[in-house]
């Protein structure tokens, strides 16, 4: 349900403007309207955008710096926010917050200095060690490659060597270097190369020591990377250096762990302080950033915005109590202002439907004044999901899995919503599984000996009715395909029909006669079409009704055309195609049940060969059913979503421009 909103304008004397903003921020119910555009269009230049006091301007930059600093510290220390108690954060927030900005800044500065003092040393050491580790890890493979050669060179006293690291794609440059250095050294040179990894190649140039300077000079001009060891290692023999590098690489992680342990103790001590400071800075800056959205004249300030109707009175009272007649709050009639399109939308649904508001993560909220389809989605989505999955075994796994996710992530909206929806969807899958008589495919039919082989293919022995009757049990999906196809068409008609009724209601609310005619006409087309084709499936369907159906459909196309023009005519014809799209409800399920039955047949065939056969059979069973279950969760979810977003919502849904986002303090819970 869309919450009824009121648009208010608050006018007051400028000397209380900042205090009034504070009260509104504290109440946290007003969605602010940015008046910049309206002020720009005004002919009179008496009303201007409210400007922030220059004194506060300075504070704004200080607070921005503090925000960056606190953010850096949070990133460096990485406190586990989920483990922190929200009461502790709120208490600390109240301790940090002050109406006087200077006091607040000084408090935050003081705590930052203390935290810096306690964490500087371990943080710096950690960063040094990480730099050292990454440097040594770069050297180790290169040194490993050049070590055997370098050792040989070391034994030849009159020879010198230089190690190079070259990108593999420029490996050809080594030939050029060989030619040039040969010229410099009078042929007394050799280059040996070996690939270090996918990107680099290590090379060792061995040449007569006499030419050391010339070769160094030449290489400096050529802009190639010479491997220069850290100064403490450079003087050592290469085998010692290699051993030392390896020892350091092995030791640094444990040193890092020690520092991490020390840091986590300090982090635990200060994390509440850091988070509360971050939130307080955020709130303070948000209040400052809101100021230019307001208007002012020489004497008064103007704040405009929306809030739920039920919140108007508390705001009036709070402002009246604090400022008396210095401030006036006026409720503006949204309809008179023709402002419905810009009205921010807030939803208020019952506990069950609220989880299904997840759909608004994929699209915008419904526009203010239209029908909220959350309840419709909450009813149909799990049914469609269950209809497609339709297996007691799969349903049980989905339901239990969903419930565990829902409970485990109760504080995280997205996984909690997904978990809840899967729980409900899983329950419907169990229900349809009972109707289809499926438990991991066709096992129940086999256990109960309800399958008979006729002409080489399995046929179901029904408990009630037969495959020629509509009423039958079990409702086998393979044999009852045609019946199910007809049922999905009817479901499509109902689902799209509800969407069209919502479209008619939206049109009526907006007093848009043409919109009502367009949607009404389309509804007539769909009803007429189904009435006309019903005779193909139901032999007893009266013949005159076919003519009635055709007439209804034609009349519907005409009415739709009058209401929506050519678009309406096209829409009414496309609408019939939309109904057939609901065939996916049976098609997806059919693919799933066939795969489940294949898994069962395969595992049965394999399981015939003794113990090993049984083990392989179980593995085959688990693998194929596991795969089918993953597909069986993903695919029905996507298709059930699509049936809503494309087929049904497409008939009535009008997106909102804005969500209701009140101007409010985090209160320590950003």
């Amino acid at each position: 349900m869309i919450v009824k909103m009121a648009k208010v304008e608050i006018l007051g004397l400028k000397d209380v403007a900042l205090d009034a903003i504070d009260v509104i921020h504290e109440l946290g119910t007003l969605h602010i309207e940015d008046l910049t555009e309206r002020i720009g269009k005004m002919e009179s230049k008496r009303v201007t955008r409210m400007e922030i006091d220059p004194r506060f301007g300075e504070h704004e930059s200080t607070l921005n710096n503090l925000r960056a600093k606190v953010g850096d510290m949070i990133r460096e220390l990485g406190p586990n926010v989920e483990e922190l108690s929200s009461q502790d954060i709120q208490r600390e927030y109240r301790a940090v917050w002050s109406d006087d900005i200077e006091t607040m800044i000084s408090r935050i500065n003081k705590s930052i200095q203390q935290i810096e003092k306690d964490t500087r040393e371990p943080v710096e050491k950690k960063s040094d060690l990480m730099v050292e580790l990454s440097r040594l890890e770069k050297y180790a493979p290169i040194m490993g490659k050049v070590q055997p050669l370098a050792e040989r060179v070391a034994r030849m006293e009159d020879m010198a060597s230089i190690a190079l690291i070259i990108e593999r794609k420029y490996k050809a440059i080594l030939n050029y270097l060989n030619e040039e250095i040969s010229k410099i050294t009078d042929g007394q040179c050799e280059i040996v190369a070996s690939d270090v990894d996918d990107e680099s190649t290590a090379a060792l140039i061995v040449f007569n020591r006499r030419y050391l300077k010339q070769v160094h000079d030449f290489l400096a001009v050529q802009d190639v990377n010479q491997v220069r060891l850290p100064s403490d290692l450079a003087r050592k023999p290469i085998d010692e250096a290699v051993a030392e590098v390896r020892a350091r690489i092995a030791k640094i992680p444990s040193e890092l762990d020690d520092i991490e342990r020390k840091l986590s103790k300090v982090t635990g001590k200060y994390s509440v302080q850091l988070i509360a400071s971050r939130n307080a800075i955020h709130d303070r800056l948000e209040a400052m950033e809101a100021v230019p959205k307001f208007g002012q004249t020489d004497q008064v300030f103007i704040i405009s915005g929306w809030l739920p109707e039920s919140e108007v009175e508390p705001m009036e009272k709070a402002l009246g109590d604090k400022f008396g007649s210095k401030i006036i709050l006026t409720v503006v009639d949204v309809r008179e202002e023709q402002d419905e399109e810009d009205t921010p939308v807030a939803l208020k649904n019952n506990t069950f439907s609220r989880y299904f508001e997840i759909i608004y993560m994929l699209q915008k909220y419904p526009r203010y004044g239209t029908v909220d389809p959350t309840l419709m989605f909450a009813i149909f989505f799990p049914i469609f999901f269950g209809l497609m999955v339709g297996d007691v075994g799969y349903g049980l796994i989905i339901m239990v899995g969903g419930y565990i996710v829902h409970k485990k992530y109760a504080n995280k909206p997205f996984p909690s919503m997904i978990g809840f929806i899967m729980t409900v969807g899983g329950a419907w899958a169990i229900l349809f599984g009972v109707l289809y008589f499926e438990f991991f495919g066709d096992w129940p039919l086999r256990w109960m000996n309800r399958l008979v082989t006729v002409n080489g293919s399995d046929e179901v022995k029904y408990y009630i009715g037969s495959n020629k009757t509509i009423v039958r049990y079990p409702l086998d999906r393979l044999e009852g395909f045609t019946l199910f196809f007809a049922i999905t068409i009817v479901i499509g008609l109902i689902h799209i029909g509800i969407g069209l009724v919502m479209g008619i209601i939206n049109g009526a609310r907006e007093h848009n006669r043409k919109h009502v005619m367009e949607k009404g006409g389309l509804l007539m087309v769909l009803l007429g079409f189904v009435i006309a084709i019903a005779r193909f499936g139901l032999g007893w369907w009266p013949k005159p009704l076919v003519a009635v159906g055709i007439l209804m459909a034609v009349a519907g196309v005409v009415i739709s055309g009058i209401g929506g023009g050519m678009g309406g005519v096209i829409e009414s014809l496309v609408g019939i195609g939309n109904i057939f799209s609901y065939a996916r409800l049976i098609a997806i399920g059919l693919a799933s049940v066939i795969m489940a039955n294949v898994a069962n047949s395969l595992s049965r065939q394999v399981a015939g060969g003794g113990w090993i056969g049984i083990i392989v059979g179980v593995l085959v069973f688990v693998f194929f059913h596991g795969l089918n279950l993953v597909i069986g969760v993903f695919s029905p979810s996507i298709h059930a979503l699509r049936l809503h977003l494309v087929e049904s919502f497409g008939k009535f849904f009008e997106p909102a421009n804005y969500r209701y986002e009140p101007f409010k303090k985090t209160g320590g819970e950003e």
Partner: protein, 78 residues
Amino acid sequence: MASAVKIGLIAISAALAIGLSALATGLAQSRIGAAMAGAIAERPELVGISIILVAIPETMVILGLVIAFMITTLKSAK
């Protein structure tokens, strides 16, 4: 013999119904998928809606499956 030919033709028809519509769906999905991958790179919030858009051409293969299934039922209606 005639019956075997009839069953074979039915099977080929069903295979064509599902196979051709699957190819068409694959072609459409490849284009939508590529376009959406580009869009997501610029606007990651489009991930959800892109999954729906990629699923749109699946109607073809689903209707193909329905038709294929209907064709195979001709075997029992002979």
